[in-house]
Symmetry: C2
Subunit: 313 residues, 2 copies
């Protein structure tokens, strides 16, 4: 089967989102073990991944070095994380495959995702990113045109636009690479946000795109059989934190949608993941799964995790 795996932060950072080089390498090496098993099982794999803590670090560097080096915009920061995470996955996944006696080409593609410059998200930035700062320092950055919000006792935090992904570019390239036997790493961090001008040209824009929503767009355009969102929990939960808490296993898209409407899922955490798998199945996809990284083989088979399948399946 052709499978798109979206790796969450826990597959790429240490505890608490520690994005040091060593923590990233260690987490990615661990993540590549179940991925290698999936490849050995004969599945065709496309990988995409988040980058929140990594972009956060780059923004701090931008800011602290601004007196010496011109800061780069957010789209550039996203690009930077695609390459560092991409080549670290290449090294770790080829090592995991080698230990299983398997060799596969692993292509890491710098990937752009088109957003609409008129997306309302640009007028009302809501996605918190980077480190907390005291009010006075935040005010200086607000004076430079950035948006910052008072986040309570931890201080102020920058908020940026998180527009809806419309199209992931170079899908035909990815598809050709998968067909020819490659593992493809693409659209990391939701893709580098670009907007299309009236004349058809593309330019980078200051935004970050939710990686799970991009995964849906990518899964649909790649026509994968399974979209699997790998995270740090085995199942989506309802009534979380109450005595009635229960894990969702096989569930219909209609029922999952009802839970979402009832406000069961956090807007910054499980909410986008649930929207992503609903978007895939409602758009004609066969099977979408949310589960933990160590159980992705069973998740792909549809026997573990929170699994939504199309009525046709």
């Amino acid at each position: 089967m052709r499978v798109l795996i979206a790796l969450g932060g826990n597959a790429m950072t240490g505890p608490g989102g520690d994005a040091s080089t060593e923590s990233q390498q260690k987490a990615i090496s661990l993540a590549c073990e179940p991925l290698a098993d999936l490849i050995v099982d004969g599945h065709d794999i496309v990988l995409t991944h988040g980058n929140g803590p990594q972009v956060g670090n780059l923004l701090v560097k931008n800011e602290m070095a601004a007196s010496e080096v011109p800061p780069v915009p957010l789209d550039w920061c996203v690009a930077q994380t695609q390459a560092t995470i991409g080549f670290t996955i290449q090294n770790a996944l080829s090592a995991a495959l080698l230990s299983r006696g398997v060799h596969r080409g692993i292509a890491a593609l710098v990937t752009r995702t088109v957003v609409d410059i008129d997306d309302p998200a640009f007028r009302r930035p809501t996605k918190p990113i980077g480190r907390y700062l005291p009010r006075e320092r935040a005010q200086q950055l607000i004076d430079h045109g950035q948006h910052w919000q008072d986040r309570g006792e931890r201080g102020w935090r920058r908020v940026v636009a998180s527009p809806t992904p419309i199209e992931v570019l170079d899908v035909a390239t990815m598809s050709a690479l998968v067909t020819s036997g490659h593992v493809v790493i693409a659209a990391g961090g939701g893709g580098i946000p670009v907007a299309r001008a009236a004349d058809g040209t593309l330019r980078g824009v200051e935004a970050v795109i939710d990686k799970d929503l991009t995964a849906t767009v990518l899964a649909r355009s790649l026509a994968v059989d399974v979209l699997l969102i790998a995270t740090d929990v085995s199942h989506v939960m309802v009534d979380f934190g109450t005595p009635q808490a229960r894990a969702l296993e096989q569930i219909s898209a209609r029922e999952l949608r009802e839970h979402a409407h009832a406000g069961q899922f956090g807007s910054g955490s499980m909410g986008p993941k649930v929207e992503a798998i609903l978007g895939f199945v409602n758009g004609g996809g066969q099977r979408a799964v949310i589960t933990s990284l160590d159980r992705i083989a069973d998740g792909v088979s549809g026997v573990y995790g929170t699994v939504v399948e199309s009525a046709r399946a």
Copy 2:
């Protein structure tokens, strides 16, 4: 013809190596005009590029933000520049092609280059990189294990290992993409340096690889017809700065080698470019050219620039 173009710093930065976002975008947009002409002419193009000023900026950020964010190693910095330069070329080249009524897939690959961990360059770092610092600050970084050199009145500068490139990875992937009609951007900044351990696994190493020497390795393994090194001068010069100064046009590999032995070319500037084109032709390549960016079409045809051809041609 299949052509590998190696873009120098002037194709990607403003005057004096200015690597601000705007300067990079402007320089790359200009560079993409002659590249688009070459593609419209029907040539299959692989692009590689330098990244010196860009890596320099990242090192400054590493250093100035070290109290808040763990610095990333040099291989990570190289990776970061592959993605930012890669997607900027994708945007600019697709715009230049669009204005000519042409659409081509443009794949930007995160690319690793294998070096030998026993390369003597690791014991004796010689490649200057990043900004100049006063002696006291350099000493602090020396105490942290870095190598810095007194460069005279401008101050001290970091020197890093620049090992010989042995193999560019994922060449089969690039070749398949070119064959299927893609423009490929690969091995930027000489490639992300990785070393192969005894068990066959790869890991990143702290180094930068000369992009022109990597271009030779890539040109040979891709079996391109022409290797063209695009720079800011129209020809390689001998007796430069004297009344006898003259431009080299069509020249045999033997004669060019003699000029190199006679010390005609600077070790940090034209020297590696001359070594690169000699390496390509002496290794069986058909035509290698050094010329300015605006004349690459004539360079590829062998009618302009400093042109070395194999005896077979």
